[in-house]
């Protein structure tokens, strides 16, 4: 949930809460006032009646007979039967009917008290209809609440506008952050803001981005330099070992084998170094991408290079180049990517198996797929196949060796990223792996 929506929702809930509380409070307050007023009114009547009766005890009968004081109130006077305490005013609200002619009972406020006249104690009951008063109170209540409701709605709308205005720079920052895929590729700066917190945030982000960028640049530069500088000493190691080997007839077997291992390791190390150098150069965008490259042609070139291995392994190639894909890019790099994909396929293919190479597409989305019948991609590698130095644990080919530098597919990834191609690997029906490049 977005921050401004959250704040708005909180405000709304609070407002509605206050509204409900006010409504309940108002209801009781208004009711209370109404009853207080009614009671005052009833007491006034009582005082009038007592005054009248004191002045003229005979009028008691008249009052008793007439009953009513007005259309909304009436009086009952009966002989005191001790049911209530004498000389105390008792108020009550009750639903009753004034006469049998009324269909439904109405709410009345009743004052029960005692009255003395002609030395006799009477029970005096004065009734006053509540409804008339309640109508007024309800009107007041409703209009106040309606006003409050309108106020809440207005507040909500205004808040929404104000929030979105105030928070715009914040959301701009958030939106920018969401679009960043690779911090190193991001060279925009977060803008200055006149809101203190957003300004702090943006400045912090700018600083961090700069740090990420520069440390990444440094790292890449370092790898590039280190890989490069390693090659000359490696060259010397290799040639010294070769020199020992060239006199193999004067040496014992163990020395020869050791020198051979030294040489092989130097070669392997230099390949690793070269692969790293290539990857970092690709990542540092040190290649021109302005050549027109025909994927099928490159693939055929690569297949010529790998022909020896394909023949010796008795691998059947099934080529389906129904779609000719032509892309803009660096031929050398694309060649390298396809070489790595195909070499992998050949490497992991069992003898006498089939490798399917196909291109298809609809002009907008073109694909190049290589499917082999090898052991497939091991489960633990599925998510990191294209990462650097990822090799299957104990993932051997049929010769019982763990191959490669672990940089082949990582190079494919870098090259694809540089060109904006997609790459994807999956296991095909449990038999073999399929690698797809999307152009």
């Amino acid at each position: 949930m977005k921050l401004n929506n959250k704040i708005l929702l909180c405000n709304l809930i609070l407002s509605v809460g206050i509204f409900l509380l006010t409504a309940i409070g108002m209801y009781y307050l208004v009711n209370d006032t109404v009853y207080d007023e009614l009671d005052n009114h009833l007491l006034q009547h009582k005082t009038d009646i007592v005054n009248q009766v004191t002045a003229d005890p005979a009028s008691l009968n008249q009052i008793q007979r007439l009953g009513g004081l007005g259309s909304y109130e009436w009086v009952e006077i009966s002989r005191y039967e001790g049911l209530i305490e004498a000389k105390v005013n008792n108020f009550a609200t009750l639903d009753t009917m004034r006469s049998a002619s009324e269909m439904t009972p109405k709410a009345y406020r009743q004052l029960t008290t005692t009255l003395s006249a002609n030395d006799t104690t009477y029970t005096l009951k004065i009734y006053e209809e509540v409804a008339a008063w309640q109508n007024i109170s309800m009107t007041i209540l409703l209009s106040v609440l309606a006003g409050l409701l309108i106020w809440i709605l207005l507040l909500y709308l205004v808040n929404q506008m104000v929030f979105s205005r105030i928070l715009t720079p914040f959301y701009d920052t958030i939106d920018t952050l969401e679009t960043i895929l690779y911090p190193t590729d991001f060279d925009e700066r977060f803008p200055h803001s006149n809101t203190y917190e957003i300004d702090v945030l943006n400045r912090a982000l700018n600083t961090m981005m700069n740090q990420i960028r520069s440390s990444f640049e440094d790292q890449k530069k370092f790898i590039q330099n280190a890989s490069h500088e390693l090659l000359t000493p490696l060259s010397i190691i290799r040639q010294k070992a070769e020199k020992i080997l060239s006199k193999s007839d004067q040496l014992d077997r163990q020395t020869v084998e050791t020198a051979n291992e030294i040489q092989q390791t130097a070669v392997r190390l230099s390949r690793l170094s070269n692969a790293l150098l290539l990857i970092t150069r690709v990542e540092n965008k040190q290649y021109e991408l302005d050549e027109q490259v025909v994927i099928t042609d490159v693939t055929n070139d690569v297949l010529v290079e790998l022909q020896d291995f394909i023949t010796l392994k008795n691998i059947t190639l099934v080529k389906d180049f129904s779609k000719e894909i032509s892309v803009n890019g660096n031929k050398e790099l694309i060649h390298s990517a396809i070489y790595n994909v195909l070499q992998n396929a050949v490497k992991f293919s069992p003898p006498k198996s089939t490798i399917k190479i196909a291109t298809h597409g609809n002009g907008r989305q073109n694909e190049f797929t290589v499917a082999d019948q090898g052991p497939g991609i091991p489960e633990e590698l599925k998510n990191s196949l294209f990462d650097r130095f990822k090799k299957g644990n104990g993932h051997m080919n049929e010769l019982g060796q763990n191959n490669g530098t672990g940089l082949g597919l990582s190079l494919v990834k870098s090259i694809c990223k540089l060109h904006g191609f997609g790459y994807h690997a999956e296991n095909k029906n449990g038999t073999g792996a399929e690698i797809t490049l999307h152009f």
Binding site: T232, I236, L245, V256, N274, F309, L312, Q343, N403
Partner: protein, 229 residues
């Protein structure tokens, strides 16, 4: 023949010098751009091994200089930069070949042989190793007059061994020679074995049973004794 080695790493320079001396070259060597400049301006060389990454200058400038004054000098670029642009630039400027470090000395020897032959249009297209004749223009190989039917890869292996006769060629150097340094070595080494098996079989059928010697499982050697020649 006169050769100049321009390489800033002394150990490597020494090694290269030794190799070229073995090949009967008169060798001069330079470790800096300035030294090299002096030597080049003073003398004409038949072969220059040129390292591009010199501490005090760009090797490509030296190449330009060499090609300007001595058109016939063969220049072989050695570089630690596996960079395509340098290779292309070097070849554009007239270098004859390009070797990325680290390379096998046997590979260097094969390359020198090839570029010198190309540059000086050497007419002897045959190389001999005892009774073995290799025609360098075609894929023709005969042993003791009998011709051998070899595949391209087998021919490449044999030629490499002949050019480096009496030396141990490691399988890794052989794999690099045939398939380039891009190929996964542990993957390719096994293929060397099967190619070698076929090659030996063919040689055996022609009567050259023990021509190629295996050196303790690390490599091969084509032994040509003086008595055979």
């Amino acid at each position: 023949m006169r050769a100049l080695i321009i390489e800033d790493e002394p150990l490597l320079n020494e090694e290269l010098e030794e190799q070229l001396l073995e090949e009967k070259f008169n060798v001069d060597s330079a470790e800096t751009f300035r030294e090299a400049e002096k030597l080049i301006s003073g003398d004409e060389y038949d072969l220059v091994l040129l390292d591009l990454g010199l501490p005090d200058g760009n090797g490509l400038d030296l190449l330009r200089m060499i090609k300007k004054y001595y058109e016939d000098t063969v220049v072989l670029i050695l570089t630690a930069r596996g960079e395509v642009e340098d290779k292309v630039k070097g070849l554009e400027l007239g270098s004859d070949d390009y070797l990325a470090k680290p390379f096998a000395m046997t590979e260097l020897r094969a390359r020198i042989h090839a570029v010198l032959r190309r540059r000086f249009k050497i007419n002897e297209n045959e190389i001999l190793a005892g009774k073995l004749h290799l025609n360098l223009n075609h894929l023709e190989v005969t042993y003791d007059g009998r011709s051998l039917e070899l595949t391209e890869t087998e021919y490449k292996i044999l030629r490499y061994l002949v050019l480096n006769k009496n030396r141990t060629i490691t399988r890794i150097a052989l794999a690099e020679h045939i398939w380039g340094s891009k190929i996964d070595d542990r993957f390719s080494l096994d293929f060397i074995n099967s190619h070698m098996k076929n090659l030996r079989k063919k040689l055996g059928e022609a009567g050259a049973t023990d021509l190629i010697e295996t050196v303790y499982g690390v490599g091969y050697k084509l032994e040509v004794h003086e008595t055979q020649q």
